[in-house]
């Protein structure tokens, strides 16, 4: 896949996703794999590429909106990824508990999308104790994806 430019929507969205992943699945002393161990950013990129155009655009809008919209949404005058990790966690927690429907939807969507990616990694599944009940487990990430699918969305 061609490397997205620094100002591209994909790049901004991935920066927002990475910042959320670091905040919600942080390094910890609990023995749980963190966002890096579960390769969340690379796998999210693969997921975005595999999605049909409409949900892909929605997810890119969600995470680029998160990254760039924090001054408006969280009243912090920096991009989301520039905030301290604990502050990011607190913001998402606050949005999820908000009585304002769009903020709540934002918080829940960030939590849902990142949880899906985190918990579909074998290391996370091992951590929760999932057993292999079935011998017919297909190889991980067996779905073919088009590495060029996002290239038309680059803005720089």
């Amino acid at each position: 896949m061609a490397s997205p430019g620094p100002l591209s929507l994909t790049r901004v969205a991935l920066r927002g996703f990475a910042a959320a992943a670091e905040a919600l699945y942080p390094e910890n002393d609990l023995g749980a794999p963190d966002w890096r161990d579960t390769e969340m950013v690379a796998r999210a990129e693969r997921w975005f590429v595999a999605l049909p155009p409409k949900p892909r655009a929605l997810l890119l809008a969600l995470f680029s909106g998160l990254e760039l919209g924090t001054p408006l949404l969280g009243r912090r005058w920096r991009a989301f990824s520039r905030l301290p990790v604990l502050e990011r966690t607190a913001l998402v927690r606050r949005w999820r508990a908000s009585s304002i429907a769009p903020l709540k939807l934002l918080g829940d969507s960030i939590k849902s999308a990142t949880s899906m990616i985190y918990l579909s990694h074998p290391a996370a599944l091992r951590h929760v104790g999932q057993l292999k009940a079935c011998d017919h487990v297909a190889p991980d990430l067996g779905v073919p994806v088009d590495p060029a699918a996002l290239s038309s969305e680059e803005t720089s």
């Binding site: 905040a23 919600l24 699945y25 942080p26 910890n28 609990l30 749980a32 693969r46 997921w47 595999a50 999605l51 049909p52 155009p53 409409k54 949900p55 892909r56 929605l58 997810l59 966690t89 998402v92 927690r93 999820r96 429907a101 939807l105 829940d108 939590k111 849902s112 949880s115 899906m116 990616i117 985190y118 918990l119 579909s120 996370a124 599944l125 951590h127 929760v128 104790g129 999932q130 057993l131 009940a133 079935c134 011998d135 017919h136 487990v137 297909a138 190889p139 991980d140 990430l141 067996g142 779905v143 073919p144 994806v145 088009d146 060029a148 699918a149």
Partner: protein
Amino acid sequence: MIHGVEDLRRGFDVDADAVVVGSGPGGAVAAANLAEAGLRTVLVEAGPRVRPEDMTRDAPLFMARHYWDGGLRLVGGSSPGPAMQGRCLGGSSVVNSAIMLRLPDWVRDAWCAGDGLDPLLRDPAFDRAFDRVFQRCRVAPTPMAVMGRRNLLIRDALTHQGLPSGPLPRAVHACEGCADCITGCHAGRKQSVDRAYVTPLAEDGPLDVYTCSPVRRVLTRGDRAVGVAGRVVDPVTHRALGRFRVRAKTVVMAAGVAHTPLILRASGIRGSHGLIGATLSAHVTAGAFAIMDEVVDPWVGATQGWGAISPDIRGLKYESLWAAPSLIAVNWGDVGEPWLRDLGEMKHATVVALVYRGNVTGRVRRSPAGGPRLTLRIPDHDVHTLMRGLKVAVDGLLGVGARYVTPSVQGVSQQIRSERESGTLVSGRVKPRQVKMTFNHMFGSCRVSADPRRGPIDLDGAVRGVRGLYVSDASLFPSGSAVNPQATVMALADVISRRLADLGG
């Protein structure tokens, strides 16, 4: 023959006696009957074929490729929530839990009384259709050997509340209890309709199947349907490829509750009184996630092995449930380190889901992006009834030793530990917006009725005012079926297509 995208990049142009749009439960049965009757039958499916070797346990990636909108389709209205619908050969039967229940008599009575469906539903052919479908899909109660502790705890909780319950009948032969039907049956044991109906007739018989071919419109000449048209779409890149056209004097629409009305309206067909897409219904849903002291290993056992039909609340059904952890836990708990700590609880979990028939209304429109826009209005009293059922389930789980129960309801305790706390569920103040619902059972966007003012489809399954055009999916239902709809969809499709093919009942 089953054509994949590799054969179809340049499009195709074929003639047939009949074309069936959509290969889910309704379309597969119709196509099989028409082909078996000797009609040259073409089945067109929007998604790709998916075999066990194509499947992945990575749920987001699987859904990205094999679900409509990558599994992220949202239904708007009173309680916005996802609708997870399969987009592959076999449709949702590939990704659901394969539960097969007959239409309850009281729902049949209601449909006959409200919409004059007696000639369709009182015909012994309708009961024989269920028999045929059940036999072909090898429907049997979920064996105790693959229940796993998670299903048995739901059994115990329902028994604790005095509810008669039992192993759910499912279209699975020799289930291995992987608890992950939602990413397809990796063991190849689920008797989804691609396996039970389409593949045998397409690989060794007369049925011609074109995958990756979403239909955009029905072709008409005067008042007659003469075929369908669309563009082949690459299932990996999602890019539109060559155009296709199938000419046939019989067109059967089975593209599902969202797409059947959308395609018809895009073809200028609005039905009697403009009713196509103007009616939509769905079951309302809720669930509860219980944490036990014991290790449950919820990933062991049939996905939905045990259930009960409420004797007290008509139209309410309880089911055990599991799915990939990446889906089951998306909204569960806090964020950050507290959530990572809570993940250790997952091996102690069991889940109950509730499905209620209710009185939901809604519609299907075309979104600005061209896809379906679904909206549902859920009356408050439906939610209050659902909450009564949820309290029964929560109390049952507490009664069999749950440490706490997390209901899929916002604004109430997320760790219910006593019957007093579960009382908040039935305070009468819970609104539809507070309940996290999933709309996998939707119906009625092209209703069948003897009365043209109530439904645009007549008792033969034909679209009124357009000769040669039929509907054969859950769009037909006048209202909710109160049980999982797949068996009823297939039985209706069987009756309609056998009449069409003059096969007799």
